[in-house]
Amino acid sequence: MSATSIVSLPDQSTATMPKRHYINNEHGLLSWLLTADHKRIAILYLISITFFFFIGGAFAGLIRLELLTPQSDLVAADTYNKFFTMHGIVMIFLFLVPSVPATLGNFLIPIMLGAKDLAFPKINLLSWYLYMIGGTLTLAALVLGGVDTGWTFTTPLSTHYLNTHVVTAATAIFVAGFSSIFTGLNFIVTIHRMRAPGMTWFRMPLFVWSHYAASLLMVLGTPVLAIAIVLVALERLIGIGVFDPTKGGDPLLFQHLFWFYSHPAVYIMILPGMGVISEVISTFSRKRVFGYSAVAFSSVAIALFGFFVWEHHMFIMGVSNYSALVFSLLTMLVAVPSAIKVFNWAFTLQKGSITFETPMLYAFAFIGLFTIGGLTGVFLGALGMDIHLTETYFIVAHFHYVMVGGMLMAFLAGIHFWWPKMTGRMYPESLSKLSAVTSFIGFNLTFMPQFILGYLGMPRRYASYPAEFQVLNVLSTAGATVLGVGFMLPLLYLGWSLKYGAIAGANPWQATGLEWQIQSPPLTENFIETPIMDHEAYDYEWLENKTKHEVTTVG
């Protein structure tokens, strides 16, 4: 045990913007579209996923608006079905899956490891192009008239009974899937091969560990989704009959293939967010993460167990009772590493020196909401309970607590935390705190009533519903309005800060990661000379002893 004294934030009025950095290194649109710089690709991703987030959010708004009244009155039922399908496809495949890895991960992993770039910079750019093709195809499916399969593409509904643009949407997901595979592949190779001298596995920031675990899932899981999607397209186009029972196919096979990816996908989405939380909690309590190796291994454990729980999406589908037993048991096991993480984060605060900047507020929100999301997952993992709760609003509330309450809060924590590093400027603190609190309140108001609706039995994906459910639905819609405001605010003030934000300086948070030891925004080559990692991660004593103004700002 050792003590570090308080490090006051550097005076930002004296900080100056470095003359040369990755943003002004080259100019013109082509210099962005043809870049191989991981930081510029991260920015491309950030802009694109923000665009798609607001598209998906608009559909969420329309869904909540329709559900304000029991009747299907704002739009017809089939339009409503297209709304929730687009909401799901856009939010999952075009926002949540790439959110943290493709933006923050892309930007930070090479720097955190002391590398100049990812292992395959051009594949990284290719990944963004594939993402954009996937996004464009999704928009095409939308503009051509929409698709109403639900994001789960359940057969035989998707293969034989709908005449919307199923194949276009399926192709979009297929292509976007490859962008995710390439990102994962790039991260794995980079983490294995490009660590700076002294950067041993157990000196890596936990952000990198959680991305490593998520990357394994991307590389091993996504191809199975691609296979499932191709089979759906083939069945729809030429009727091969893999899933069609009248041709000897098995419709449950699609469920197995789809969830074999789509359950691990949940961990692809949440693990990088957990990485963000570890960094933020440590920085704002000025303490190394409690139980570093437990947190690192729990990421890997989540990835490992995550592959063997998919059948818990099928407990009521007539699977064998005994296979259900096995999958329920494994589902309970996967909840344990998440609990370990939550307690380690809590104990990181103990004996710290805590401040409450915006990223920290989001991190607190994450821990609380993720705890609710995780524990309600135990409801659904318990076999007999799942029968009543599955396919109702309970499940909708559960995964929104994990995906929005967890992942989106983590994403916003990360964006605020590394905003000074990415742009060289600070965001406005009080406004951003206001938006964090607004999101937190709005979120709970939106989704807490949905747990109750779920236990009452209200099915998901209903355009109209019995009148007795209206009060709770009105509450939920009111909450969504507040939540919408909470999400719009960052878009505005972060945009404003690009020009008017205070100059951040290299290390505004006095954080220990390698990324904070270089100028903000970083140079294209990240480091002038390869750094040598001679200390543990989160070593605040090392930071303390480091000579001031060692940071090289190239003029």
């Binding site: 045990m1 050792s2 299907s72 039922a77 079905n81 109403d148 359940t154 035989p156 509904l157 034989h160 009974y161 029972p245 009248t246 419709p251 303490k287 409690f290 139980g291 570093y292 437990a294 009521i316 009772n321 329920s328 048991l329 096991l333 344990v336 609990a339 370990i340 939550v342 307690f343 809590a346 104990f347 605060l349 710290g352 020196s353 805590i354 409450f356 607190f364 524990l375 309600t376 135990v378 409801f379 993992g381 318990a382 076999l383 007999g384 309970m385 029968i387 009543h388 599955t390 396919e391 109702t392 236990y455 009452l456 039995g457 099915p459 998901r460 355009a463 109209s464 605040y540 004593e541």
Partner: protein
Amino acid sequence: MGISPVLWQFLTKWMHGSALFPAEASTISPWVDALYFSLLLMTIFGLVVVGVLLTVFAIRYRREKSPVATQIEGSTLLEATWTIIPLAVFLLMFVWGALLYFRIYNPPTNAMNIYVVGKQWMWKAEHPGGQHEINALHVPTGQPVQLTMISQDVFHSFSIPAFRVKREVIPGRYTTVWFNATTPGTYHLFCTQYCGTQHSGMIGEITVLTPEDYKKWLHESTSGMSLAQNGERLFASMGCNQCHSGNAAARGPNLAGVYGSKLTLNDGSKVLVNDAYLRDAILNPSQHVTAGFSPIMPTYQGQISEDGLIDLVEYIKGLQTNYRVQQTLVTASSDEAAPPTPAAGTTTEMVKP
């Protein structure tokens, strides 16, 4: 019900008074609710523990109070604590949930069987006595009822929140669910698996009646012919009796008494003859050839509706002797007036609203 007395009664009484809790109308409901409250308790407890830790640490160790952080590596003891305690709690919930699952999905042997066919976007219930209902189901109290369900098109899901039961209804295979209703009244029936445009319109009403009222309802709603009688007609009109006549020289196996028996197939495997097997054997006969017979039966895939298959299954289920089979055969072959046989599929329209 053997569920904990005082707290339980207090909870259910209080909850039932509010609109935030569904009615308990089957013998399963209290068991599901008991697990639900325990899980809720677990969640609240977990949330309080985490909430207290965060709040206390955030106040106690805020920068103003604690200007200097004390670095701590970690603690194996604490790691073990928060690995083992959650694991133990989750395992307890696993066992509890598993026991409940087996209770919900293993029907008692004395359950009365009702068939349900789901299709875009309606539920059709067929009682053994031939009563048909659309988007409605009448059941008696105090009698275990098993639903044997199948979909004619896409995945549906049959959900009765007040009974706390639900099961996916799948094309191409029978799934079952059972319940024992306790309280007369009407309850929601929902399709909970997204099934296309009118998914939210695929709803209905479960009417729970006292046994006397149920008998009265059965009597008033009869369509004149039971499922088995429909099946018998279909059996004759499709010509099934030509081969399955039960004669020594017949080209197909004897079906009398076959239901519930163990059958040896010509690849040597043994199967239990149940609803699912009979349905498969009619649609894909070449996959289910009884030992000692040739694979000569043509497939009936696409020729019989799910309703027709249910009629046939119900008929074969109750078939104890081949006397009537041979009688119809004689009648048919002697070219005398056979009983008027409705064409396949017309039974679907015999609906009593």
